[in-house]
Amino acid sequence: MDKVISNKRVIALYVVPSLLLLLGIVYIPIILTGYYGLNKWDGISPMIFIGLDNYQALIKDSAFWQSAYHSLLLAVFSGLSLIGYLGIALVLSGKIKAANLLRKIYLIPMLLSSVAIAQLWIKIYHPSNGVLNAFLSSLGVSDPPSWLADPKIVLFSLFVPIVWQYAGFYILIYYAGLKNIPESLMEAARIDGASSWQIATRIKLPLVTEIIKVTIVLSIVGSLKYFDLIYVMTDGGPNGASEVMASYMYHKAFRSFDFGYGSAIGFFLLLICLIATFLIRKATASKDTVQFH
């Protein structure tokens, strides 16, 4: 038995192709990104090694820090919206008829391509024919803001469809975790006279702490590297008002053909994501987590 299941040739055959793909397409490129960042390079002519110049320039680049600030705002916004998703999931996990159908309906936007969602929301925000302004004018609002063209509000106009896109995903995850809690625990609490609120905050929430931690990492790191809807809907505009780190990197590399600088941003983005993951894990780590299996 052991001889058969530790056959080196078979193992190599099963693992090596995938491993090569993972190394070649995920791991080696992130090392290369760090290295390209040390060079002046337009993607075509030979690289010129310039040491840390790109990284020094990046630290002084106010446009980059503005984009980082926007990414951070999105992270805070997404992090806070988790509270709402958790609330909805708590309600949904109670004795709600059609809960299964509802959570599936919530999930639909997340299954659609970002391009389709972005194009649809461009139409929703359309100044004269968009459904949003049509709705507002029926309420008597005569001069609605220009949602995607006003630098003061564009960022928040973008956050709405991003929340719309991901809400169902987080509700689904919370719901799955809450439904895993055995009904007997809640029955026991009810017999002891606990109210629904007490059951939710004292029993249900502590038992999904692990899941909450995972979703905090997912939503914050996901926001820091967010790109899709913003790139399609405003392309970082107007005038950089909705630029985020990933779109700034993309513009530097594939519009200005500054591959060296773009790589430096890409590497920085990677570091920020890894550090954020580490910090959130550390901040939410506790020795006496209640867990149910």
């Binding site: 791991y27 993607g43 936007p109």
Partner: protein, 294 residues
């Protein structure tokens, strides 16, 4: 409701008040849940409606008016006049190839990691799991320049390889739970009978995992179908573009024809909506298993 039948509540003089309160609370909860559902669905309903209207109807009538004479010709026009048909077929075959490759490779890896004995298997598994955390954008520039050197820019192979590599970690994650739960007796018996590992994997294990393969398959289909940034960066010819980038370019040219835009968007999301209607349970299962366990 069940709770009312339970004697646990102190039903004194305030019992009736409490019951009313509870009923109002329940009603309120349903209202909130319904409102969220409506908000999630309404933009898509609007999209379906304006994809069946002409510009006159879009501009002149209320947004949620039902088109009395639905303009199905919007769909026919965008399908025949532009390259949408080409993009659609590209999306289909590129999605299918990457999906098949990912699910097959991930099955091999998961089998080797969970069922075979070798040093370094937890390290290899760890490499795949850490891969989940790498932002796609940090790999974009090196991938572009490497594919350029290999003459794979403007070649669908660059997409299939990238999709596969980036989807392997999630796919393995979903498979892991299933493989750990598979009984070992079948394999032991097969090996006693002199069955080789390859034969056992392909003839016994793989068929046993068909349900989880379907789950990972549908999740991969959704990811691949919707992928945008790699196509946008690696592919420049119309003959190789997939729907996401194709739709983006196409709509850029027709900014004023609402019906055409609506029909294009609908065509691009129809396969996903169809998959959702048929396989929503598997989608739900795959998404929750692929994001939290680990």
């Amino acid at each position: 409701m069940k709770t009312e039948a339970m004697p646990a509540y102190p039903l004194g003089t305030s019992g009736a008040v409490q019951q009313t309160l509870r009923r109002t609370g329940t009603l309120l909860m349903y209202l909130v849940l319904m409102l969220v559902a409506v908000l999630q669905i309404l933009p898509l309903v609007w999209l379906i409606l304006f994809s069946l209207k002409n510009n006159q109807e879009v501009l002149g009538e209320p947004p949620f008016s039902i088109p009395l004479h639905p303009h199905w010709d919007n769909y026919v026009n965008v399908w025949t006049s532009g390259n949408i048909g080409v993009y659609f077929l590209n999306s289909v075959w590129i999605t299918a190839c990457a999906l098949a490759l990912t699910v097959l490779l991930a099955s091999f890896v998961t089998y080797a990691v969970t069922r075979m004995k070798w040093r370094g298997r937890s390290f290899v598994l760890g490499l795949f799991m850490v891969g989940l955390m790498i932002p796609v954008h940090s790999t974009l520039i090196p991938l572009f320049s490497t594919f350029q050197k290999l003459h794979l820019i403007d070649n669908p192979l660059s997409l299939i390889l990238s999709y596969t590599a980036f989807n392997l970690p999630t796919t393995i994650m979903v498979l892991l739970g299933f493989y750990y739960a598979l009984p070992k007796e079948v394999e032991e018996a097969a090996i006693m009978d002199g069955c080789s590992v390859n034969r056992m994997f392909l003839r016994i294990i793989l068929p046993m995992t068909s349900s989880v393969l379907a789950t990972t398959g549908i999740i991969n289909m959704i990811y691949n179908w919707n992928e945008f940034i790699f196509v946008n960066t690696f592919i420049s010819s119309d003959v190789y573009k997939t729907l996401t980038v194709g739709v983006q370019n196409f709509i850029g040219q027709y900014t004023t024809d609402w019906g055409a835009i609506g029909a294009t968007l609908m065509i691009s999301i129809l396969p996903i909506l169809l998959a959702f209607l048929l396989l929503s349970d598997r989608i739900v299962e795959g998404i929750s298993a692929g994001s939290v366990k680990g």
